[in-house]
């Protein structure tokens, strides 16, 4: 297993429309007036400045893929058919973590408590999007460094909680990525704190040249 690599102070690019989508915006149907647009823009901008993204990743070898389970080189078993399918062409995988940090969660709480729930939900959606953009950044970043080895990452990634890749498996990621060093903790019910934290795995595949 490679060492864990940690990245900070990253400002990943992301599509602001995804924040709107998270909030139920329907293009061509939902209407936003000028005042509301200003509120939206200002809140998203504030969210960007309050997120202190911390990203981490680690490459691991895959010892066995049964189609239902994937056994990593250290013996950790990740369960899930869809996950196994995604990793079917991979001998190695990359585990990733992204957290937007505690500061933005405190601001969301303050907004909610002071009767500014509309700003709180916008900030909440923005923080989710930025934490996800952190993983997008990691995928691109790792993909670029793999290219010279004739390798690439799978197009998709999987996070615990999707389909049959159950949420309990966050504990494996937490251990392998030593998330406490990133300022993330995990509850007994496998929730991540700060809330806007996300863990994922992607496979490493060959680049075909002919």
């Amino acid at each position: 297993m490679d060492n864990i690599k940690v990245l900070r102070a990253i400002r990943p690019s992301y599509n602001r429309n995804f924040i709107l989508s998270r909030l139920g915006y329907k293009r061509g149907i939902t209407g936003i007036n000028e005042d509301f647009q200003k509120l939206l823009d200002g809140t998203v901008k504030r969210a960007e400045s309050l997120c202190s993204l911390v990203l981490a990743y680690r490459m691991v070898g895959i010892d066995e893929n049964t189609g239902e389970n994937v056994r990593l080189e250290d013996g950790t078993v990740l369960s899930g058919k869809a996950l196994s399918r995604m990793l079917s062409q991979s001998q190695r995988a990359v585990l990733m973590a992204s957290t937007a940090g505690q500061r933005i969660m405190e601001e969301i709480r303050t907004l909610m408590d002071s009767g500014r729930a509309s700003e709180a939900v916008i900030m909440d959606a923005a923080a989710s999007e930025i934490a996800d953009a952190g993983l997008d950044f990691l995928m691109e970043y790792i993909g670029t460094s793999l290219r010279r080895q004739g390798k690439a990452l799978t197009k998709h990634r999987f996070s615990p909680g999707y389909g049959d890749f159950c949420i309990e498996q966050q504990a494996h990621f937490a251990r392998l990525l030593e998330i406490e060093k990133l300022g993330i903790s995990i509850t007994e019910t496998f929730m991540l704190v700060p809330e806007k934290s996300v863990l994922a795995v992607a496979g490493i595949v060959d680049i075909k040249t002919d």
Partner: protein, 802 residues
């Protein structure tokens, strides 16, 4: 090869670079998990065969197979101690493959880790790692260097500085831009170009990440500012995933069909990256022979950059504003902040100046007793993190300047270099090494000349010395030297004479504006008048306080009057926006109807609207029944029709809440009894679950629609929920859970409620739930926040009728 020879090398036509080598070596047996550099060094036949095929295909410049050969990268394979040896060998092999028919470029790329503050590698560690590699490549006999596939400008700078500190060979630099024309770390093509060409890159361009079509636009963007040749190495199209594998499948003919567009956009050298083969290069070479490249440009304006943007300082464009507030001289708060290393204050001042319209920021750490070298560097890092503006590094200490310039991730301006012998001798070489612009301060060892003629003589002397280091006029801002008019009535006039002379001689200029009024009362008036006069005299930039409204107004108006703001576009844009803002205030003052205030979520205005209705004689009940309730229902309808989305639904609820607060003192008990009595709901996020924003929104909406809500918060045990339901005689228990691991608490609560004989209906919601799961334990499923309200209404209706 000398740098001058390299420049001439492009005179003969399009220069052809090589194509992908790694993939060719994989086909010749290089294992995927091997260290590519080590394997190639130990398998010379394979490497030479591939590289020779590129030379035979028409490659003029062959890259050594050493892009991952820096010491940090090789350490991943336990090969750090062999860095020099591996690189020397790889350079020797490339020379053998080239056989004198092609130049050999020592290939350098990323160490695979990010530099501080994003990663853990320090700038100096990166420089040292590259130096070890460069020494090996030099020993192996490379003709020039190429730094390629870079995404981080700071790492790229460290590689370029490492080369420049060891040799004077030509260096080509290419960064890798994603879709959206930025590198993954966020730098745009023009900013990369400005930073790198000023730092001494002899050619700049792009490689990898995208195919040739996307690179046409990148080259087009760079060309107007490129004083060096531009180079392009695209992938064979964009990567696609086929059968679980990534493929580059643009064929050679299609790939080469873009050559004309690339050259037309301004490319001077063409090659290939991932997915390309000698066939691609052979075809490219044949086409390129028929094309003529456009030469690099000669610019007459200054370009400075940060790690996120470029600022052009032009005499025909609006005055460039350099914010002066990050200078502790005479500023107690900043001085104290610097002493306690409070970089939050520094960041705040940077943001304030940017928002007020500054184009650049002057940064000065001159506090007696403070380690200026460290303080200036800390300030640079803090400001770079806070704002995208380029910086003016304001110090007379060569050591502080060099330390700050090393870590500054762009092209900075040095403030300043004077005609003092020591300053010229020590700071000019530093400015040249880091490619910085500088402010030329026309004073010398004899002090500040009073007469303009004497200042001009110093300007000419310093300029001559600067030319020796390769500077030209567009790399310099001449300071007119502003002295206070309180000490001599001709002071301003002499400065204006200097500015006029500079303007006629092709120099850009700057002034430290506020010096002019030192010692006078009402200084802003004098500053503003002098600014207008200086702009009239051709001033290009000014160090001033951008948070002074008066100064910025004068600046904008002067730009129009001097025809530097063509058609007053910038002026109209700025002041139209201001008028529109003040217009909004007026609109806001015009009181909305209560109904409209809820509909548009106008929390700030609704209390006034409610009081106005009361003044008109409407009763609280009438306001509620005829305005508030119909309005909040309309908001709900719009939400259901998706014409509103969640924040708008909540904004309506917030406005309703403010309205009810405003009405509260006027509600008699009888009237109030009808409101808030649709039913009582006990709400909780279940035990083990800490996500409660969804539940909080539901609480807000339920209260808005007339329910009494007892909010128990998050992570609430089942027995507490049951007890609260009993104590409050709840009509409904509302439960929220976000995760599969916590939703199992819900049936537990339902079971306990049944056992306790509670009649309350149970409604549940949360991201992972569905109707089937809810109904499996007798609960009602609430799809989203608003449907919860409707569900609650129907539950109490059913209970009433039942």
């Amino acid at each position: 090869m000398t740098r001058k020879e390299f420049r001439k090398y492009f005179d003969k036509g399009i220069v052809i670079l090589d194509g992908a080598t790694g993939t060719q070596l994989h086909k010749r047996g290089m294992p995927a998990d091997a260290c590519p550099e080590k394997w190639a060094a130990e398998n010379p036949e394979a490497l030479i065969a591939v590289q020779r095929s590129y030379v035979e295909s028409g490659t003029h410049i062959l890259y050594t197979f050493s892009m991952g050969g820096n010491a940090i990268k090789l350490a991943e394979y336990g090969l750090r101690s062999q860095t020099r040896e591996i690189n020397r060998r790889l350079a020797q092999l490339s020379r053998e493959a080239a056989s004198g028919k092609a130049l050999v470029a020592g290939d350098i790329s990323s160490c695979g880790m990010l530099l501080e503050p994003c990663g853990e590698i320090t700038f100096e560690q990166s420089v040292e790692s590259y130096k070890e590699q460069i020494r090996g490549l030099l020993e192996g006999g490379v003709d020039l260097f190429v730094i390629e596939t870079m995404m981080d400008i700071q790492e790229t700078r460290s590689a370029l500085i490492a080369i420049r500190e060891l040799c004077d060979l030509p260096v080509m630099v290419t960064m890798t831009f994603e879709d959206g024309m930025r590198t993954l770390m966020g730098i745009d093509p023009v900013t990369a170009l400005v930073t790198l060409q000023s730092l001494g890159a002899d050619a700049v361009g792009c490689n990898c990440s995208t195919g040739p079509a996307e690179m046409v636009e990148i080259i087009k963007a760079m060309k107007p500012y490129a004083k060096v040749p531009l180079i392009v190495k695209p992938n064979a199209g964009k990567p696609r995933l086929v059968d679980g594998k990534t493929v580059f499948n643009m064929d050679a003919n299609t790939f080469c069909s873009y050559a004309e567009a690339l050259v037309g956009a301004g490319a001077n050298a063409l090659g290939g990256c991932c997915g390309t083969t000698p066939e691609y290069i052979r075809k490219l070479s044949a086409i390129a022979g028929k094309l003529t490249a456009e030469k690099p440009v000669e610019t007459t304006f200054a370009m400075v950059s940060s790690n996120r943007q470029t600022v052009f300082i032009r005499r025909d464009q609006p005055l460039t504003v350099i914010g002066e507030r990050l200078n502790p001289t005479g500023k107690k708060i900043l001085r104290e902040a610097l002493i306690r290393n409070d970089m939050d204050k520094v960041a705040q001042l940077a943001r304030e100046q940017m928002e007020a319209g500054a184009d650049l920021l002057d940064v000065n750490a001159g506090v007696p007793g403070l380690d200026e070298k460290k303080a200036l560097t800390d300030m640079v890092r803090a400001v770079m993190d806070a704002v995208p503006l380029p910086l003016c590094l304001d110090s007379s200490s060569p050591e502080a300047l060099e330390t700050a310039l090393r870590v500054y991730p762009g092209r900075a301006v040095i403030n300043s270099i004077s005609g003092e012998k020591d300053k010229m001798e020590r700071i000019l070489p530093i400015a040249a090494k880091y490619g910085a612009m500088f402010i030329l301060l026309p004073i010398d060892d004899a002090g500040v000349p009073e007469r303009a003629e004497d200042r001009i003589a110093i300007i000419q002397r310093v300029y001559e010395a600067a030319r020796f280091y390769g500077f030209s006029k567009e790399d310099i801002l001449v300071d007119g030297v502003v002295m206070t008019v309180a000490a001599g009535s001709n002071a301003a006039g002499e400065t204006l004479k200097v500015l006029k002379w500079c303007s006629n001689s092709g120099f850009s200029t700057v002034i430290g504006l506020s010096n002019v009024s030192f010692g006078l009362p009402a200084r802003e008036n004098v500053n503003a008048a002098f600014l207008a006069m200086a702009v009239a005299g051709g001033l290009t930039s000014a160090i001033l306080n951008p948070n002074s409204r008066q100064l910025m107004d004068i600046k904008r108006a002067s730009d129009v009057l001097k025809a530097r703001d063509l058609d007053a576009r910038e002026y109209i844009r700025h002041y139209s926006a201001m008028e529109s803002k003040s217009g909004q205030v007026q609109t806001a003052k015009k009181r909305p109807a209560v109904f409209d205030a809820v509909l548009n979520g106008m929390s700030g205005e609704i209390a006034g609207a409610v009081l106005a209705d009361l003044d008109k004689g409407l009763s609280p009940k009438e306001i509620i029944d005829n305005s508030l309730i119909p309005a909040i229902r309309k908001v709900g309808e719009l939400y259901e029709e998706k014409k509103y989305f969640l924040p708008q639904l909540i904004r309506g609820a917030e406005a309703m809440e403010r309205a009810m607060e405003a009405l509260a003192p006027y509600l008699d008990k009888e009237a109030y009894a009808d409101i808030g009595k649709k039913g009582t709901v006990v709400m909780a996020t279940v035990k083990g679950d800490i996500h409660d924003i969804g539940k909080n929104i539901v609480v807000l909406l339920l209260r808005n629609h007339g329910f009494e809500v007892v909010d128990l918060g998050k992570d609430v045990p089942a027995d507490r929920i049951i007890q609260a339901a009993k104590d409050n005689n709840a009509d409904i228990i509302g439960l929220s859970a976000l995760m599969t691991t916590t939703m199992t608490e819900m049936p537990k609560v339902a079971g306990m409620a049944a056992k306790a004989g509670l009649k309350a209906g149970i409604m549940v919601g949360g991201a992972v739930l569905d109707r089937e799961y809810a109904e499996s334990f007798g609960a009602c499923y609430a799809k989203d926040a608003y449907s919860t309200v409707k569900l609650a209404e129907s539950l109490v209706r059913d209970m009433g009728s039942g």
